[in-house]
Subunit: 487 residues, 2 copies
């Protein structure tokens, strides 16, 4: 199939220089306009070894302002990366809005290689392609410009280049090993790449096959692809995903059916015992490289902070990190909203505790209108995908929702005003949020319904009695750790 | 010596709770004031195993707003960290201004351990203490609040706690191995820590020895130390380093004695040959884990970009990264100016190419008044230290200065206005900078004189002929790579 993209074009030096001159001027101008674009552009550059990908990127570096260009190569994972889900490194390398990120190999090369080397079955390969497609679509709907380029040469041409290269780099086993692999597996690689093409060539993230038989031609074409994609984005011709929610559906009332009258007995003793039980489990999880992410959501003043502090007595800050979600920074606003949460996926053995979380997208952002209806509406799926990536990598995820009654909340607000170290916690905004209680109930119920997955169920905790809630949280952590550690 | 810090204090529960209540209110208020402080506070927490450091930090987490608190533990280095100079991870964990960073173990524990285990001689240990002192002084003079706490217990007490702990964590070899080491080496550890104390207890970064025999007392004292240090900083009672430069000294005129009439012959052939020569060397350096940092400084329009682009033909963007230094971001401004350069120290085998660099401190920041005289004046030493850390880690560092005459500069400015893809490069500011030429000459000459070290000499390149300059840059890179690779 890729054969049909092969051409006989030979670009003369004069033609090359003429085209380069034109492209150069237009690219730099377009790049400066793109600087103010709200999202980055990601160009995945992959393809056959020896096709000249390095030269293509050099041609790009030659003409563009390097302050707006970032190049990332995805070779061997570092140990920090290997401890996280596969997509961690791709999120981590995401440029800010207005910049162009060139992703060498992208998320494709390793997947193709594992398939060809027999580490992955065809079904796994196809699953991974599905993941790639989802990832790309998610970013694209959010405004990121994604283009994928496959640098192609014929088998004959590869042989020629391979022989030339072999002598030149015999001092670098990594290069020669790689080149030999590509050389030996040409047919299989092309066949797999064609499968990747068929499954992931979408309107959101199209593939461009670049015939690299002629170096001049391939460089010009590469630059042209970038220019065209940037222009398309600037002219607002990007695909849009526009499903918006409807008001006609109601969701099961999870909160209404929660018994809020539960109270703790023997609080002190039980707490002490739980802390003593959890402590060694947390260290064992560290030892075994099991990481966890704990989400705390719930009404204002429901007692999230108090629960987290009790938990820290068992899983102290050497093993854990508390991430309190406040308004996003400029850096965060210029990327997909999940970016800042992906960056907080902990290393093997550590725990990240979220005081509010990515669910803000379908709660405060929905209700305050920070996210448009089609944006928060599609994020239930995005969130489920995110949590699936975590589960696949063996991350222990618990999502707590602390529920209190409206009366209890009011009582706590008033109390806070009298306690010196809590006064800073109560503002006008808290009272304003109270007026929105019915909207929050709707949002909560939809959230429970849509994100209560097998991998990541919600744990709703009755929290009118603070002590009861704290014990429940610790009990759940204890139980889940035991399960993960198979005790 | 630490013995004298041991006390018989037993704090009653009532006393503890009374003090905690007072501290809690005052700490949270002080923390909110500290939020607007221009620099972070770093608290190094180290000491004997079993002293209860985890509980102390938990007490802190209990009372402070977790959004303003960051805890970093410095255990085993990750492979990414091990590839950089030792201080890389401490720079990398630096919180933003207004936050408190607790550094578990800090830069001390590993140094003490290496000394005791015989990996380092006493001289090396003392050299490392010298480095610690310099690092702390540098940050403190810049406004960072640094306090170091040593958590102490008697040998008898440690034995008691060790026995209790041993059974509890026998499922976690890492903890028991560590505890056993501390237990077996008590005397040596205390003696080494006392040496560390004597050599690094300064007005800039004082040590506090916390007697941890009584847990309640130690927690209260820990909180008190943090409160006092924050208050001291807020009351502007931090030590200041005030040496300012004098105008009476002139420095050798390096630029004046440079022959600007050199021109290239056989440019095309030589360039091609150099690119062909360097390419495999760069890959060999990658293979062998040798990283490099290349600095490009010089007059506006001296041709830095052109040199870098030619270099990229040999060391392409898969192995290298171009870092163009523009105005610092908010994140960068809230930390020591070297922070953003430390973060760009490349991984093993990679090359970072700086289009302008940390020398901006003694050039544009000096001349435009962005840095106060005492600030830029002390940074020559800070820069030399930074480069020494790089050299010690085996980083190949080349500092290029591209020199052109004033007439040549003007001619290039005028030319730029006529070339479509260069128009964006010329602004009013460039002409304004020209008026400051004499000041720049002074600053350049002082920079050459003070930072032309054995580890990191300057390479001044006559660049009136662009082609000559490009060849010289590539020749230098070629030669230095050969030297590093011992070819």
């Amino acid at each position: 199939m890729f054969k049909q993209f092969q051409t006989d074009i030979k670009m003369s030096k004069d033609e090359y220089e003429k085209r380069l001159l034109e492209l150069r001027t237009e690219l730099i101008r377009t790049q400066y306009k793109f600087k103010d674009y709200k999202r980055p552009m990601i160009l995945v550059l992959t393809g056959l070894d020896g096709a000249g990908k390095g030269d293509m990127v050099n041609a790009l570096a030659d003409v563009m302002d390097s302050r707006l260009l970032e190049v990332a190569t995805f070779w061997q994972e570092t140990d920090e990366e290997a401890e996280r889900p596969y997509y961690f490194r791709f999120w981590n390398s995401m440029p800010m809005g207005g910049k162009l990120g060139v992703y060498f190999n992208g998320w494709y090369e390793r997947t193709i290689r594992k398939y060809i080397d027999g580490d992955d079955t065809e079904n796994i390969f196809l699953d991974k392609m599905k993941n790639a497609e989802k990832f790309e679509k998610m970013l694209a709907l959010d405004g990121t410009v994604i283009v994928k380029a496959w640098a192609h040469i014929s088998k004959k041409e590869q042989k020629k280049r391979h022989e030339k290269l072999a002598n030149k780099f015999d001092n670098v086993p990594e290069i020669t090993e790689r080149a030999n692999w590509y050389y030996a597996k040409y047919d299989k690689i092309v066949a797999s790449a064609e499968m990747a093409y068929k499954t992931t060539h979408t309107e959101f993230a199209p593939w461009e096959i670049i015939d690299c038989s002629d170096k001049r031609y391939s460089q010009i074409r590469f630059l042209q692809i970038i220019l065209d994609s940037m222009k398309k984005a600037l002219e607002d011709k990007m695909p849009k995903g526009g499903t918006t929610p409807t008001d006609l559906i109601t969701f099961p009332d999870v909160l209404g059916s929660t018994d809020l009258n539960k109270t703790a007995e023997n609080y002190k003793d039980e707490l002490k015992e739980l802390v003593t039980d959890i402590k060694p489990l947390a260290w064992e999880a560290y030892e075994k490289g099991i990481s966890s992410m704990l989400v705390f959501e719930g009404w204002d003043a429901a007692g999230k902070g108090g629960c987290i502090r009790r938990l820290l007595r068992a899983v102290d800050l050497r093993l854990s990190k508390v991430i309190s979600i406040a308004a996003p920074t400029q850096e965060e606003l210029s990327r997909h909203y999940l970016w800042r949460f992906w960056r907080q996926v902990p290393r093997a053995g550590y725990m990240s505790i979220f005081d509010r979380s990515w669910y803000g997208r379908v709660l405060v952002e929905r209700i305050e209108g920070y996210a448009k209806p089609e944006e928060w509406f599609r994020s239930y799926d995005e969130i489920n995908d995110f949590e699936e990536h975590l589960a696949e990598r063996g991350v222990m995820l618990i999502k707590f929702f602390l529920h209190i009654s409206s009366e209890e909340q009011l009582a706590r607000f008033e109390q806070r005003e009298d306690i010196p170290w809590k006064q800073h916690k109560i503002t006008e905004e808290d009272y304003r949020n109270r007026d929105r209680t019915p909207e929050y109930i709707d949002a909560y119920n939809e959230m429970f319904f849509k994100t209560n997955t097998k991998n990541a169920p919600w744990v709703v905790i009755p929290a009118n009695d603070k002590k009861y809630a704290r014990l429940e949280v610790l009990k759940t952590v204890n139980k889940t750790l035991e399960k993960m550690l198979k005790i």
